[in-house]
């Protein structure tokens, strides 16, 4: 406890150990790290202030958005949704068979469990944009490398969530099914899936929402969708077109967010009744 005038600072280890100087050292070290990071990242509010007129100029060129350009965006916007849809579907197809091996309570043994967890960690660890760059190099420009990027990264994400929901299920019915002489796949079909299916659908819907958001930027690396138009318009200095792209993206993402929230709430409700 540190007394500051009439006030007492109630930050102390239980037992009232008078080790307050340790906190001082920790605070100084914390500030040091932030200072070091600020130098590396060149965080400078002075620069921001100096750049203000340029930002204002840029925004000025974007306004008003070019509404005419909207007509050209319909197709790429639909393509974005299509990329997200197939990216999500393939991610589910990849994740479902893997997740059972990555769930501690179902996995046949510890080695398989750890190996599968690592596989999921690696695919999840690589950002979609990086994957898209790789796939663009491999299969060429267009929406399909975008689909593959979303599928691979999404499989890692979904696999982990699926496995975690399997680990949370009631183990009793699983034991009961094993005791009837059911095989491993029968046990999964009748004991595991019914217990996790609503959680899984919720996660898949959320994944679709995330994929849609990611699909809007995949075009920047040439992997199709509305991001392609965004980058194109910027390269041609057509900032009014850029503004239209950004507006369309914002509306798409907000719509997806709203629909997915509603859908998940509805599923949760359905699961309870």
């Amino acid at each position: 406890m540190i007394a500051i005038g009439r006030y007492n600072l109630l930050i102390a280890r239980s037992g009232g150990n008078p080790g307050w100087w340790k906190y001082l050292v920790a605070a100084a070290a914390g500030l040091g790290v932030l200072w070091w990071a600020a130098i590396g990242a060149q965080v400078s509010f002075g620069e921001l202030a100096k750049g203000m007129p340029w930002i204002a100029d840029f925004l000025g060129r974007m306004l008003p958005p070019n509404w005419e350009f909207m007509g050209k965006l319909v197709k790429p916007a639909i393509e974005t949704v299509q990329i997200a849809l197939w990216g999500t579907l393939l991610a589910v197809v990849l994740a479902v068979p893997l997740c059972f091996f990555a769930a501690r309570n179902i996995s046949p043994n510890a080695a398989v469990f750890h190996a599968m967890r690592q596989v999921l960690n690696i695919t999840r660890g690589i950002n979609e944009i990086i994957l898209a760059l790789i796939f663009v190099a491999a299969v060429g420009l267009g929406p399909f490398p975008g689909v593959l990027a979303l599928a691979l990264h999404g499989a890692g994400m979904l696999g982990k969530f699926f496995a975690e929901s399997i680990e949370e299920i009631d183990q009793g019915p699983i034991e009961a099914l094993r005791s009837t002489g059911a095989g491993p796949i029968q046990t999964i079909v009748f004991g595991v899936i019914p217990q996790v299916v609503t959680a899984w659908i919720g996660v898949i819907v959320y994944r679709f929402e995330t994929n849609l958001r990611q699909a809007t930027v995949l075009g920047m690396v040439g992997a199709g969708g509305i991001g392609f138009e965004l980058v194109g318009s910027m390269k041609l200095f057509q900032y009014q077109d850029t503004a239209t792209c950004i507006l369309v993206i914002v509306v798409m993402v907000m719509t997806a967010d709203y629909l997915s929230t509603r859908l998940r709430a509805w599923i949760q409700q359905g699961a309870r009744s």
Partner: protein, 276 residues
């Protein structure tokens, strides 16, 4: 029907079962009595290999139980199990839960896609009729009461057409009236179908009422074997060395006893006692 010789089970340093020998005949209704942690559950689980015995041999219907895939499937098809917490799958329909009892004997590939032979569906319906739940067949199982869920558990066990039913404290979470009903279904199964029933209980009353033979287990050893009318106070003292568990009718005494003992123990020790 069941022969157990020199069965032992260790969990790390803890020995749950010491050298248990036991023989149970066809169609017999045997009750295993014992305090919590005496090894009753472990004994049942060693029979259908939900727990792997550390030593000894289990024979079901003359054949030794093996732990390879085919051996496990065989013993588990012949030996059905009923659980204290019912262990029915909550989101499946009542009928489908009963059908899971047939999984070991139906074509696996079709069952993955929810295709069941008509014969198995007929068996499942028949078993539901026997526990008087045929009118609930299409309801989701989590809409049922505890007693009804346990009846679904019994129907699932019967649907296996087993030679043996192992019941692990099947009525520990049920009220007395429902408990009798559930135990009656089990007795019926043993009398009418000649199914061997081994039932773990900790209520002495039910053991007296339903058992043909009582096995007393304490500290992982069989300490009594005999007819229910041989359950004298001296025998019960042997089965429950720490004192007889109170009848459901007088739980106050137990609470008072617990209250008297609890403050004497430091919290850590209490925790250790709760999680043996």
């Amino acid at each position: 029907m069941i022969e157990i010789r020199g069965l032992g089970k260790r969990y790390g340093d803890f020995t749950a079962l010491h050298q248990v020998d036991l023989a149970v005949g066809k169609g017999e209704f045997v009750v295993i009595l014992g305090a919590s942690g005496a090894g009753k559950s472990t004994l049942l689980r060693c029979i259908n290999q939900l727990a792997e015995p550390t030593q000894g041999e289990v024979r079901v219907d003359g054949a030794p139980v093996r732990r390879d895939r085919a051996g496990l499937r065989r013993v588990r098809r012949d030996v059905a199990m009923i659980f204290q917490h019912y262990n029915v799958v909550p989101r499946l329909s009542v009928l489908k839960n009963v059908l899971t009892g047939r999984l070991g004997s139906m074509p696996a590939l079709a069952s993955w896609f929810q295709v069941f032979p008509a014969r198995d569906i007929a068996i499942a319906r028949e078993c539901l009729r026997r526990v008087e739940l045929d009118h609930k067949a299409d309801l989701r199982t989590d809409t049922l009461s505890g007693g009804q869920k346990q009846r679904v558990g019994i129907a699932r066990a019967l649907a296996q057409r087993p030679k043996v039913i192992l019941a692990d404290e099947p009525v520990a979470s049920l009220d007395p009236k429902t408990s009798r009903k559930v135990l009656n279904y089990l007795r019926q199964a043993s009398r009418e179908d000649g199914i061997t029933v081994i039932c773990n209980l900790h209520q002495v009353d039910y053991a007296r009422e339903f058992a043909q033979r009582v096995i007393g287990v304490a500290g992982g050893r069989v300490v009594f074997e005999g007819r229910p009318d041989e359950l004298t106070d001296e025998v019960l003292q042997r089965i429950y060395p720490g004192g007889l568990e109170p009848d459901p009718g007088e739980p106050k005494e137990d609470a008072a006893l617990a209250a008297a003992h609890a403050p004497a123990l430091p919290p850590v020790q209490q925790l250790a006692l709760e999680q043996p």
